[in-house]
Amino acid sequence: MTEWVVQAEKLDKLFDDKQGKTHALKGIDFRAEKGKMTALIGPDGAGKTTTMRLICGLMDPTGGSLQVLGLDSVAGAEEIQSRISYMPQKFGLYEDLTIQENLNLYADLHGIPQDTRKGRFAKLLDMTGLAPFTGRLAGKLSGGMKQKLGLACTLVRSPDLLILDEPTVGVDPLSRDELWIIIKQMVREENLSVIVCTAYMNEAAMCDHVYVLNLGQMLFEGTPQELSQVAAGKCFEVDPPEELPYRVLQGSLLDDTEQIIDAVPESGTVRYIAARPGEPIPTLERWSLTPRAVDPRLEDGFMILLHQAADLEKTRIPLAPLDKIPPRPAQNEVSIEVKDLVKKFGDFTAVSHTSFQVHKGEVFGLLGPNGAGKTTTFRMLCGLIPATGGKLSVAGENLRTARTEARAKIGYVSQKFALYTKLSVLENLQFYGGMYGLPRKKLQERIRTVLEEFQLTGTESHNAGDLPGGYKQRLSMACALLQEPEILFLDEPTSGIDPLARRMFWREITDLSCKGTTIIITTHFMEESEYCDRIMIQDHGKMLIIGSTDEIREKLHKPGANMDAMFIDIVNQSRARGEGAAQ
């Protein structure tokens, strides 16, 4: 007989506060088996985090029954909380404490005896690669290291149930791999039961059982294979013609809501899901392309489910059709010029001698592991911090010293989605528009446009702080685009965002680049580099490689390789070289 660690029946959660009522969970059934990994996936605002919090006894359900480890989640909350481990989206590390002190705190709270502790810490620190840094303050760690430390803190002892809420958000592929290796090793060695929420479909594919949650309702329950099979026979890939950027073909396919459910650029091709396989697809006919059938993946099944559930009239926005080959980014018009850029914080070199150019209308990707210097480079470009050495110009000016007009030409979306949480969506837009000096009439018009483009219509009066992650991201984009900037800076705009929202985000970027906007972007989803014209990979402040994804594939002699693997290769090679040189 199967033993369940979590059993939820008709679970209901209604938030009722002054902001209004939100029905977060509408009577869902959910079970997690002992000793297995259960994934919970779904778009933003589906109710995933609420489910997790309910299981942890951090909130009380408003209906239905919820049993965790055989205990009622309300009456037995204290006992549940002492037997399970929970890693929230943003793990609450104490930033003024060192790695060791954070670990000690959780070990003490869980009452781990000193003798077992030693071995456990050594193992965790070794697995997470944090061993050399135990004396460093948690606040000084990069995002990936923070997540690893958070995981280590939740694993100081073997819990009866491990709950992970998007454990790899904002974490680079290298660290993400390492995190999953740790989780899988723990599951294997200690027979852990795990529930995980994730936005990465390949992570969900590693689990034993998958639930798909959407708008507080369960859409699907089954194994990852079963979820993939939903898309059986509907998946194809196609090579774009010369001169046509992947993103344009992908966008053009995506616009065809009749025939196409989903499309993404991938490993030198464009992959799509056909709604009615066999029927002609106008886009492919326009460029006379022949698709090849491919095996379905979990993500495909997920996209089909969401596609069925969503009201598509509402989710697709009218953008300019992508039926022409857009002009190549003008080589002679340089938007961003960086020469020999250096940034030092004390002895630490965050960015070392980096030079590159970004041309007008180009989509330029800045990739690298956490702590590689991407954000520092970004902040220098935006004029937020001064460079230690080198030259940089953005739209012909150094933004640090530039007059305000120069800054009017750029838009900036920071990692944390800098929104005024107490202000409503509309008020945020009005404020940023005002800061960009838009006249009232023009501002109203722009607000109407961006609200539509980013599908925020209807949320105008919600407080920005109460929006789910994807909405926040869209709102920050909308704010940055109000003044129609010539150059758009995007610092990890897609982290923590579900696939559906990411498709729309990139469709928007494609549209902007067709209009001639220069875009410079950082991301931890390596497959997203396929949308870029060129990418640059940084590590330890140094530039490792620069070029289009095809060029990079060629350079590494790996045709058709996926970017995740290539990225890991490039970074590991460089690190090995670095170590070799050091020895």
Binding site: R379, C382, L384, Y420, K422, L423, E427, G434, G437
Partner: protein, 374 residues
């Protein structure tokens, strides 16, 4: 870009910045309550509490003389309006109780040889015992009672005093200290509020991560500065108006000056206070630090402002320090406008220092905004 266009954009930015700050301060009903209700309550409470005039003197009497004269003296005291005898003592041993339990502010001891000495042409002392734990009450009760005893003495002797002192107190004929404290309370309460609010505003944006976003927009630090100072100044003006109304309407504190001059003084004062708050804020990474530094600033400056004790009584070195304290000048200006009706042009003594403090702190804060990231 031509000047007209530039001005238009600048004004628009300032408008939206101020609008946003107002929303951030007043949109949340919890913030509204916390900002607006306490000043009203405290205005009334402090209005009553801040008073050095004794309106009710409780005293105990130990009459060891038991003569006609001593009884008459006691009767004279009892007959005086605000004297209330709470105990009549029989011996020295009973003096401690009414003092210790705070029942009596004063014990009047008439010695056995009270009349004898007078008849012998000697000075005859009456002992007034007061409670040193309340130093102000103690000295006032002694002073009032001495005055009443001399009156009684002259009445007994049936003659006029050889010298009569005509006292005229300008601007406050009855020497009501409640009047004196009313503008002071207005000043210090607004001071605390404005400094804290402006101090928190930047730190709050830092913690939420919106401050960088603000710096990337074309808005210049001046715009940010104006916006950040705007909401605290408005809160200050609302609070100031509330306290002004409570003072003049409920406590009948006279207001002889020009209302516009008063508001100008308030505006200047709040700008200087907001500047101090922003300068603190620009150098703090989180709200706890703001909390610590603002209270480290507010407590000494509140005490050394001349609110309770005259600045002239302080040692030179401390007096010099008070020149950097906007509250000191604001209190002086407020009192002069309230009671003396001093006009705008005669208040340069107070306006200039506040203006200088405002300019210095605001420009320091503006500079720090750009240069203190990370």
């Amino acid at each position: 870009m031509d000047l007209g266009k530039w001005k238009e954009i600048f004004c628009r930015q300032v408008w939206y910045m101020c609008w946003k700050e107002m929303l951030g301060t007043f949109k949340d009903p919890r913030f509204r309550r916390v900002l607006l209700i306490p000043p009203i309550l405290m205005g009334f409470l402090f209005g009553y509490a801040a008073n050095f005039n004794l309106e009710n003197i409780t005293y105990a009497l130990l009459d060891k003389s038991h003569t006609k004269a001593s009884v008459s003296l006691a009767a004279h005291l009892d007959g005086t309006d605000f004297y209330h005898r709470v105990a009549t003592l029989r011996n020295e041993g009973e003096i401690a109780d009414p003092i210790n339990t705070e029942k009596a502010m004063l014990v009047v001891v008439i010695p056995e040889d009270f009349v004898d000495k007078l008849e012998q042409g000697q000075n005859s002392p009456v002992q007034l015992i007061t409670d040193g734990r309340y130093t102000m009450t103690s000295s006032l009760a002694t002073a009032y009672t001495s005055r009443i005893i001399s009156e009684w003495m002259l009445e007994q002797a049936g003659r006029e005093p050889p010298i009569s002192l005509q006292v005229r107190t300008w601007f406050n004929p009855n020497q009501l200290t409640r009047w004196f404290f009313s503008p002071g309370i207005l000043g210090i309460m607004c001071f605390i509020q404005v400094v804290l609010l402006s101090g928190l505003s930047v730190a709050r944006e830092r913690e939420e991560g919106t401050f960088e976003q603000l710096l990337v927009t074309p808005a210049s630090p001046v715009v940010i500065l104006i916006g950040k100072a705007f909401a605290p100044v408005v809160v200050g003006l609302i609070e100031g108006t509330t306290l002004l109304l409570i003072g003049t309407l409920w406590f009948q504190v006279p207001f002889t000056g020009n209302l516009l001059t008063l508001y100008f003084a308030m505006l200047l004062f709040f700008l200087a206070s907001a500047g101090v708050g922003l300068a603190i804020s620009a150098n703090c990474q989180n709200m706890q630090q703001v909390q610590v530094y603002t209270s480290l600033y507010l407590v000494p400056n509140g005490i050394l402002s001349g609110l309770f004790t005259p600045i002239r009584n302080m040692p030179e070195a401390l007096q010099v320090l008070t020149y950097a304290n906007p509250l000191r000048f604001a209190l002086d200006a407020f009192r002069r406008i309230y009671f003396q009706g001093t006009g705008f042009w005669s208040l340069g003594y107070d306006f200039f220092p506040m203006l200088i403090i405002a300019l210095a702190t605001l420009s320091f804060a503006g500079y720090q905004f750009r240069h203190n990231l990370n």
